[in-house]
């Protein structure tokens, strides 16, 4: 909201906002998302439009509600209010078009299963309760592993994987889902450089295929090289848009407050005054 609009609004709420120009349907649009753990909102009334065919980073300080926003969008955590639409459809009708890559630490890696079995989980919607696993299912799972560079690890016990390899397996499971929208929760947290490169490679390929990618992201130094768009979040939505215009020293200062020293922001070589 611009100052002018705010002034009008402050005059009595009679102002009429300019009609939003009808753009393409967002891959995912969130309206008024509020989630609270107890009496304090973790996120409050967050609106967001994740553009189709773009890679969007959700960034913000620790405890800003980044993962919560993703989980609320997927109905993993209950929300106080809010509406989710995926490709213009309600969430339940669009489940098959989205794939989620949770944080590595959300599961027990001592679970007695193999890499290929985890990737196969991505095919559940296709297989159903008792559907036979056929050759093309196995091929799809193997192909997904191939894309993340883990083709030779198919029969490895998941407990034997490194952190980076675990992340790749989760990504492969999402790839097996053959979705249009990929939602990743801190895909680069605690992974080695080779895995980070491999993951970003896969994500960029997805983008060229016209798929949409949304990732909770921590590392401010790589935002510009990895992503097209950002959503800056700190309980509220602070800014949203193309990296060039929304990822500025002003918006970062507003998002991170005193937690981000001016020197750090300068290192990012952004426009705008600090």
């Amino acid at each position: 909201m611009t100052p002018a609009e705010l002034k009008l609004a402050a005059d009595g709420g009679r102002a009429v906002a300019p009609e939003a120009k009808p753009g393409p349907v967002a891959a995912m649009s969130l309206r008024g998302m509020t989630v609270s753990y107890g009496e304090k909102p973790a996120i409050f009334s967050v609106d967001a439009d994740f553009e189709q065919g773009a890679m969007t980073a959700i960034i913000g300080p620790n405890g800003a509600g980044k993962s919560t926003l993703l989980k609320a969008a997927l109905d993993i955590v209950p929300r106080v209010s809010g509406e989710v639409r995926v490709h213009g459809q309600p969430l339940e009708r669009a489940r098959g078009r989205m794939a989620y890559v949770p944080q590595r630490a959300s599961v027990d890696w001592d679970f007695p299963t193999r890499v290929i079995d985890v990737v196969m989980m991505g095919l559940y919607r296709e297989l159903g309760l008792l559907g036979r696993i056929r050759g093309h299912h196995r091929d799809a799972a193997q192909d997904a592993l191939d894309r993340v560079g883990m083709a030779d690890f198919a029969h490895r016990q998941i407990g034997q994987l490194s952190g980076g390899q675990q992340q790749r397996v989760f990504l492969a499971r999402a790839l097996a889902q053959a979705a249009d929208l990929y939602l990743l929760d801190e895909p680069f947290a605690g992974v080695d450089a080779a895995t980070e490169a491999a993951i970003i490679d896969v994500l960029k390929t997805l983008k060229t295929e016209g798929k949409s990618v949304v990732a909770v992201h921590h590392d401010l130094t790589t935002v510009q090289s990895y992503f097209d768009r950002v959503l800056l979040l700190n309980v509220r939505r602070i800014a949203e848009g193309p990296v060039r215009t929304a990822f500025t020293s002003d918006t970062l200062a507003a998002t991170y407050g005193g937690r981000l020293a001016a020197a750090q922001i300068e290192q990012l070589e952004l426009g705008g005054a600090v």
């Binding site: 989980k71 109905d75 989620y100 949770p102 299963t113 193999r114 889902q177």
Partner: protein, 309 residues
């Protein structure tokens, strides 16, 4: 192994094996979900369930008893869940509050009502009476094809067989969603699986197994079989399907060896009377688990636990 075996040992062993398998199967999932003690809670609340059923129906017929026990188990599970969420209390403590309270209520009801003359007491509930489930009408293996003799089979055998079959079929049918939700609940939700319903369904299936097994063999076996065979199996392999197979093998082994030990073991030590079969089966399952803890090939952790990364 002749007529005497068929008459005195065949049916108790079969009942013991079926009860053990019925409990061990859901036990595998409960173990992986860190809910192993649900079996403990369920087996405790069976007592108030049957006492209440007796007070309401006035008989000790099997059907009202089983319904009462099943209802108590489901209510207990719902209460645990409610207390956990509403009171923000850790799962173990919530369980402890619910099952001890219901059990205490059951004991009090039992003491305050006239159940003399009825076969209803706490010790029986705990230990069962596997030894007494004999097949008097049998006079050899040929009786297995004799309709008249078959009609004399202890009714517990039929009930536990049906319960075991139900558990096996449900496990087979819902194998994929069960494994999926057990491994990665968040992901399961995103692909539209009804995670809460699956979790509740699992616990209800466990309750069915526990109640039917309790009817035949008492609650000690129930708790032991929910945990020991799956836990020992967990240490044998890194494939979940293989683990389930091992757990069935261990459950069967515990039931057979335990029953034989209880019946014939004391004779070897110069004692004349048999000891509690239910207790011995639980003990054998514990010995198997102990051996697995010491020597099993996959006894150490591999990956990081949930939340430790």
């Amino acid at each position: 192994m002749g007529a005497e075996f068929v008459q005195l040992s065949l049916t108790p062993i079969l009942i013991g094996v079926l009860a053990s398998i019925a409990c061990a199967l859901p036990g595998n999932f409960l173990l992986m979900r860190r809910q192993a003690l649900i079996g403990d809670a369920i087996s405790h609340v069976v007592l108030p369930g049957i006492v209440l059923a007796f007070l309401v129906s006035g008989t000790i017929a099997a059907v009202p008893m089983l319904l009462g026990a099943g209802a108590a188990a489901v209510i207990a599970v719902a209460l645990i869940e409610a207390i956990k969420r509403l009171g923000r209390i850790e799962a173990g403590a919530a369980m402890g509050v619910v099952f001890t309270t219901l059990f205490a209520g059951g004991v009090l009801m039992l003491e305050r009502t006239d159940t003399s003359g009825v076969h209803l007491d706490v010790e029986h509930a705990l230990m069962g009476s596997l030894e007494s489930l004999i097949w008097l009408e049998a006079d050899g293996w040929a009786s297995l094809t004799d309709p008249a003799a078959l009609a004399g089979l202890p009714p517990e055998l039929g009930r536990i067989a049906i319960a075991c079959l139900i558990v096996v079929v449900l496990t087979w049918l819902f194998w994929r969603p069960l494994v999926l939700t057990t491994f990665d609940e968040g992901f399961a939700r995103t692909i539209g699986l009804p995670v809460a319903a699956i979790g509740f369904g699992l616990v209800v299936a466990a309750a069915v197994a526990a109640v039917a097994a309790f009817d035949a063999v008492g609650s000690i076996i129930v708790i032991a079989m929910f945990i020991c065979p799956p836990a020992a199996a967990r240490l044998m392999t890194d494939r979940f399907g293989v683990q389930v197979a091992w757990s069935i093998a261990f459950a069967t082994l515990s039931a057979i060896v335990g029953y034989v030990f209880a019946g014939y073991g004391p004779l070897w030590f110069g004692l004349y009377d048999a000891v509690s079969a239910a207790g011995m089966i639980a003990t054998v399952s514990g010995v198997i688990l102990a051996l697995a803890c010491l020597f099993a090939p996959r006894r150490r952790r591999l990956g990081e636990g949930r939340g430790s990364a």
